[in-house]
Subunit: 154 residues, 2 copies
DNA sequence: TCCTTGTTAGGATTGATTCCTATATAGCAC
DNA sequence: GTGCTATATAGGAATCAATCCTAACAAGGA
């Protein structure tokens, strides 16, 4: 969802982050989509308002936002990182056909835990469930009938 | 676990894969560990028996095994892919301290499903749960007390 | 308004992975 | 076993997302 300038200013301030036009644009762009874009996607989008912004600034800013806990990085595919401004607990539907990632909010999944102490001293701090399959678009295109394409896509 | 030559031969044959000493060594190495090694780890290991084996062969072979469904690729960290010869349904404990990945077998987690049709036509073919936290070694080292280090490690 | 410190742009660099290709060899048919 | 063909291997070159480096800049606090 779209953030007001004040809301954004507050989120940055309470984490001790400087506010700059580039940062605001990057964070706003990420908060305004549900598509889990790549750094390159964000650069392309933000460039419309800031034609001189460098890819480097996008990478650097995403790193800062990630370390501040304002964005999450998701790595379902090896080729490149994708980002998510939705930091509430949620899970993902990952399409094997088109590589899209959809949010899935499900209270029951949020409450999962490891059964017993079988985990041998591992201290759990969080978890995430990833469902793979085919999105409605790919189903319609018949891509769910063929074997998933495991080739790389650099 | 360790595979007999016959067992391995059979797994390759029934998927129409040629059997070569390099392939056998790579697959054996992967099947014989629970550590989810990288391609480079496997190359280093296999090189003891096949000093001339190239990294390229390891990458190529892992791709072939993956496409044949004999190994899985896991991408919890963006820096590099890690591989898994355990293709039975299971989940993972991912340590934020040392980046180790442990298997977690749990029947209840295997039975998860998406509640209702909220998923908007998404056809689920599988799922995996990833628990993050700190392994016993990292806990003892006190690494679970500091904030997780989100910096990259290229 | 001034200062300090973190940010930006852009160029160089890194490094895991992929591409290319000549040679070698597994698996199959005879 | 011999020969044939398709595929595998080695090694060198190339790719490209991401990081490093650095000089100029600009928030935000004093
Ligand atoms: Mn999400
Ligand atoms: Mn595993
Ligand atoms: Zn799709
Ligand atoms: Zn650990």
């Amino acid at each position: 969802m779209r953030l007001t300038p004040d809301e954004m200013r507050m989120r940055f301030r309470e984490r001790g982050l400087k506010m700059t036009p580039q940062r605001a644009a990057i964070y706003q762009a990420l908060a305004g989509t549900v598509s889990h874009p790549t750094a390159e996607d964000l650069h392309r989008h933000v460039r419309r308002q800031h034609p001189m912004i460098s890819p480097n600034t996008v990478y650097y800013t995403l790193g800062v936002l990630r370390e501040a806990g304002l964005v999450h990085e998701v790595n379902y595919w090896h080729d490149r990182s994708r980002f998510d401004a939705n930091i509430t607990p949620h899970h993902h539907l990952v399409c094997l056909g088109c590589r899209s990632i959809q949010d899935l909010t499900d209270e029951a999944l949020d409450r999962l835990s490891v059964s017993g102490r079988l985990k041998g001293g591992f201290e759990v701090t969080g978890h995430r469930v990833e469902f793979h399959g085919y999105c409605s678009t790919c189903c319609r295109a018949g891509r769910h009938l063929s074997r998933p394409d495991h080739r790389r896509h650099r």
